[in-house]
C-alpha cells in the first residue's frame, strides 16, 4: 500500500482522514443523526419523501449546500462581525441554494417542478443553519467540510429510508417517475384484495414513520434515550 504518495500538507499536519476527521463523517449516521437525534431539517424531510427519486435529489442538494456553506462560513468565520452573523450566514446559504435550484431547473426540470417550494426552503432547513452555528463558526475549514458532508449524508439516509417505505406501501412501485421504475408488489397480491395505503402518500405518514424510526433507533442505541 505504499504506492500512494503523501502530499506535503499531510506530512507536517494531521492526516486529512485522521480518526477524528473520519468520526466527523460517520457520527451523523448514527449517534448524532441530524433528523432522529438533533431534530434538524424535519420540514423538508416530511414534504418530499413521497418518492425515492425526489428524496435522492433533495438529499444530494442538501449534502452540497451543507458541505459548501460549512466550508465558506468556516473560511470567513474570523472576519464575520458577531452582530450581523445571522444575515451573513443566510446570505451564503441563500446564494448556494439559488445556485442549486438553478442547476436543478437546468438538468432535472421535472423534479425541480415537484420540489418547487421545498428547494427554496433548503435555506431555512435548520440542518444548515444549525451546523453553521454549532460547528463551522468554531472549526477549521477542512473539518467543517467533512462535518457538512457527514450531516448531509445522515439526513439523506433517513430521507431515503422514509421514502422507500412510503413509496412501496403508497404506490406499490419503486423509483416511479424515472426510467428505472419497477413494480414491487405483484399483481396477484392486488387480486387477493390488497390495496395501496392512501395515508402513505400524505406527509403525515412521514411524521409517524420518523417517530417510529426514533423509537427503533433509541431502542437499539440506548445511550440516546431521553431520561427526563
Amino acid at each position: 500500500m505504499s504506492t500512494e504518495t503523501a502530499s506535503p500538507a499531510q506530512v507536517n499536519s494531521e492526516p486529512l482522514f485522521s480518526k477524528k476527521n473520519r468520526r466527523l463523517i460517520t457520527d451523523p449516521f448514527n449517534d448524532s443523526n441530524p433528523i432522529t437525534v438533533q431534530v434538524l431539517g424535519i420540514c423538508s424531510a416530511l414534504a418530499i419523501t413521497s418518492t425515492v427519486a425526489n428524496s435522492f435529489v433533495m438529499g444530494l442538494c442538501v449534502i452540497m449546500v451543507t458541505a459548501f456553506s460549512n466550508l465558506t462560513i468556516s473560511s470567513i468565520r474570523t472576519i464575520i462581525p458577531s452582530r450581523i452573523r445571522m444575515i451573513v450566514q443566510l446570505v451564503v446559504i441563500a446564494t448556494l441554494v439559488t445556485i442549486v435550484s438553478e442547476m436543478l431547473k437546468a438538468f432535472a426540470y421535472d423534479i425541480s417542478k415537484q420540489l418547487s417550494v421545498f428547494v427554496g426552503l433548503i435555506i431555512t432547513n435548520c440542518i444548515i443553519m444549525g451546523r453553521l452555528e454549532a460547528f463551522a463558526m468554531g472549526n477549521k475549514p477542512w473539518p467543517s467540510l467533512l462535518d457538512g458532508i457527514g450531516n448531509g449524508i445522515g439526513y439523506a439516509i433517513i430521507l431515503l429510508a422514509v421514502a422507500f417505505i412510503r413509496e412501496i406501501f403508497g404506490t406499490g412501485k419503486l423509483l416511479s417517475g424515472t426510467p428505472l421504475e419497477f413494480t414491487v408488489i405483484p399483481q396477484f397480491i392486488y387480486d387477493m384484495g390488497y390495496s395501496d395505503n392512501g395515508l402513505m402518500v400524505l406527509p403525515i405518514s412521514a411524521i409517524i414513520l420518523i417517530g417510529l424510526f426514533i423509537w427503533v433507533h433509541r431502542a437499539w442505541n440506548s445511550k440516546l434515550v431521553d431520561i427526563s
Partner: protein
Amino acid sequence: MEYINIFIKAAFVENMVLAYFLGMCSYLAVSKTVKTALGLGAAVIFVLAITAPINWLVFNYLLKEGALGWVHPSFATMDLSFLGLIVYIAVIASIVQIVEMVIEKFSPTLYISLGIFLPLITVNCAILGGSLFMFTKEYAFVQSTVFGIGAGFGFFLAIVALASIREKIRYSKVPAPLRGLGIAFLITGLMGIAFMSLVGIKL
C-alpha cells in the same frame, strides 16, 4: 367577509404546521412547556404579520417583471424574480433583528421572556413558507397581510396545543425509547390526521 375567510383558511384549513408541516423544527424543539410555546407563538404571529406585507411590497415594486418601471422607463423590462429567495430571507433576517432591537428598547420584560426565541424565528420555515405561499396564491396587499396573521395564528395554536399535550404526557408511562422526541412525533402525526378532516372545507 373575504378577509375573515382568508384568515380562517390560513389558520385552520391550511395550517402551516399541521397541514403543510412547515416550521417543524422549532415546533418540536420549543414545545416542552406551554410558557415558552406561548412566547414563540406570539413572536411568530408578529414576525409573519410584518414580513408578509413587506415581502409583498418588495416583490411587486422591485422584483416582478416590469416592476422597476416606476424608477425609470428603461428598467421596465427587467425581471429580478430569480433573486426572490435571497431577498425574502434577507428581509426576514433584518426584520427579526429590528424587531429584537425594538422590543429590547421599549419592553425589556417581554424581551427577557422571549429570550433566544426571537433570533430562532429567522430560520423558521413557516415564515419563509408564508411569504412563498402568499405569492403562489396571488394575494393582493391587504389579503397577504391577513394571510400572514392567519398563518401565524395557526402556528401559535399548533405549538400551544402540542406543548399542553407534552406537559400532560410527562406523567404517563411512555416506553423509554419513545419518551420525549418520539412520542412528540407520533402526537403530531395524530394531530395532523385530525386537521386533514378540514381539507374539504370550501371558504
